[in-house]
Amino acid sequence: MGTEGLNRTAATAPADAAVVAGAMDEERPVRRLLPWLGTAALLLFFAALLPRLPLNPYHVQVLMYVGINIILTASLNLVNGYMGEFSVGHAGFMAVGAYASATVMLWLFPKALWPVLFPVALLIGGVASAVVGLVVAVPSFRTRGDYLAIVTLALNMIVKSAIENIEAVGGPRGLPGIGRLTTPGWVFFWVVVTLVALRHFVHSRFGRGVATIREDELAAELVGIDTRQVKLQAFLLSAFFAGVAGGLYAHLIQFINPRSFDILKSTEILVMVYLGGVASLAGSVVGATVYTVLLEALRFLGLWRWVLAPLLLVLLMIGRPRGLLGFREAALFVPAWERAIRRAAAGAGARAPTAGAAPGTRG
């Protein structure tokens, strides 16, 4: 990956705090609140109205798959897109989250309290998955590139193989009897949490560290970035949301077995990331949506849909190697302060063109 990505992702021009504050005021509070109001309205719609509409249950199911896939794609994009590593075992984290949340519910929580304790179970799934994420994060301090890819692949295989050998969770036969607690409202809620958390993370000081690691890890260390800390945070955050997605998935299909989380599932998530575009949350949303809906829409082709879909992917990659939205971001996924910094930098650039370029405005 070339250095051109640096200019496109983060405003790196030094911006005067006062100028930035001024630029933030320029944006009217109403306009800043609008996305939040829209999100709240949508949440209300998904949680309260949608279940009452006479919709085809199959369509609602596909909608929830889209949401879960968005969480998986965006969380993998943090490691593969923003940080530029190549993790190929995301389904392993999903498996940990699915099994942790499902077993906590089945073994510890009384059935009457399931709907109330569902978020707790999802959090436990996410945390368990983040803990397993340490297995990848720690080797990543020394191992990188294709070798780190193998570490993630090995983790995926180890998780699957470990679950197959634990009789208490059904081994290779799987774990039945999970409550159907995942609703469109919950899925939408977690999609929002994921996207907001990642949006704030990638535009934070640590997030800039993540982008710097992608461009040049050695240089990142030389300018004083604690690369271990940054990698640790990125891997754990990514694993956490994959675990939450796994929990949502388990409580949607109500039956999980180790084969649902094999390398093929990881491949699917990879495809969604690179289809939508790396280092872009908007890309993750688009990639997950297009992929999920397209595969469902091609269902009438039977076996041949799996012949056609990869062909489309190859054609897309040849035509648009960076994916649909690679390194481009919708304004919605850029925090207000970042937009302000970019405007300030653009303003400074316009006033004093000789003072240096103002990167970030191309974003």
């Binding site: 593969n80 090995a154 193989s161 050695l218 990659m317 040849i318």
Partner: protein, 294 residues
């Protein structure tokens, strides 16, 4: 006990020969293009199915079947490189990797849709015979053929890469693909040749697997492919002798784990060992350590 261990070692040599042949394709392609060719496992699968076609339908004997499958699969590998990877040679590296994943999925499901999902059986091509060795052990005619063919192919490859001018060009590409055309090396032709050789070796692996475990199906390439990739990485990806060694190391690990623990632990232990190896030797056994520059 000792004879049991020796017998397992013979089994490991058989499995390792197959892993090594497939791992070579990964490593050679990685060496010249820095591309993890994730379709390689499925090229191996196509090789096995072509072997099935030649042996079961055309009723050819072993050697013509092997040669036919190797040649046809080599053509397939060259075509894939030409159509899917060459347009992406200057694109970001991951685009090519994702394309490779796509090609792999395509091959799997194309075979699935045209040949069908039911497992096929490759007919026995080598007369069954058992050669006893001193001490209660022995090997079968299949094992002898698998090991012999694999070692022969690897010897030829090693001589080719290290002793011929074309082989030298191949090694040169792995050092510096950008400036090599200036030295008058036809890079595209060498890359095509690399894919041809890698795919032919994978096809040979497919036929040999068909001798040992005659049931083949369209998804057989996935797990074997990933394992061969692991073997290539264990040996140090890009290193040809490393790939050979990695294949036998991985096979030995798997066979001996299965010999002492329930076989369901095989993948668990094998991949845990791999993870440990990579933590302590981040570039595998024979991997080249590149100097980092800013």
């Amino acid at each position: 006990m000792i004879s049991y261990l020796l017998q397992q070692a013979i089994n490991a040599l058989q499995l390792g020969s197959v892993y090594a042949l497939i791992a070579l394709g990964y490593s050679m392609v990685y060496g010249v293009l820095r591309l993890i060719n994730f379709a390689h496992g499925d090229i191996f699968m196509v090789g096995a199915f072509l072997g099935f076609f030649a042996a079961a339908i055309m009723r050819w004997p072993f050697v013509p079947t092997l040669l036919f499958s190797m040649l046809a699969t080599a053509a397939l590998g060259v075509t894939i490189e030409r159509v899917a990877y060459r347009p992406l040679r200057d694109a970001p590296r991951v685009s090519a990797v994702i394309t490779a994943l796509g090609v792999g999925l395509f091959l799997e499901h194309f075979v699935l849709a045209t040949v069908g999902a039911q497992p096929r059986q490759i007919p026995r091509m080598i007369p069954a015979r058992f050669y006893p060795l001193p001490g209660d052990i022995g090997f079968s005619s299949n094992q002898a053929v698998i090991f012999g063919v694999a070692v022969l192919l690897m010897l030829i490859l090693d001589l080719f890469v290290n002793r011929t001018l074309t082989g030298m060009a191949m090694r040169a590409i792995s050092w510096d693909i950008r400036h090599l055309p200036l030295m008058g090396v036809p890079v595209n032709r060498i890359v095509s040749l690399t894919f041809a050789i890698g795919s032919a070796l994978a096809a040979a692996g497919g036929i040999l697997v068909g001798l040992a475990y005659p049931i083949i199906d369209p998804y057989m390439g996935i797990l074997v492919g990933w394992k061969a990739f692991v073997a290539a990485v264990v040996g140090g990806i890009g290193s040809i002798r490393g790939a050979m060694a990695g294949g036998y190391v991985l096979a030995a690990t798997e066979v001996f784990v299965a010999a002492f623990l329930p076989s369901t632990y095989r993948d668990f232990v094998a991949f845990s060992l791999l993870l440990t190896l990579l933590v302590f030797r981040p570039t595998g056994m024979f991997g080249r350590v590149w100097a980092q520059k800013v």
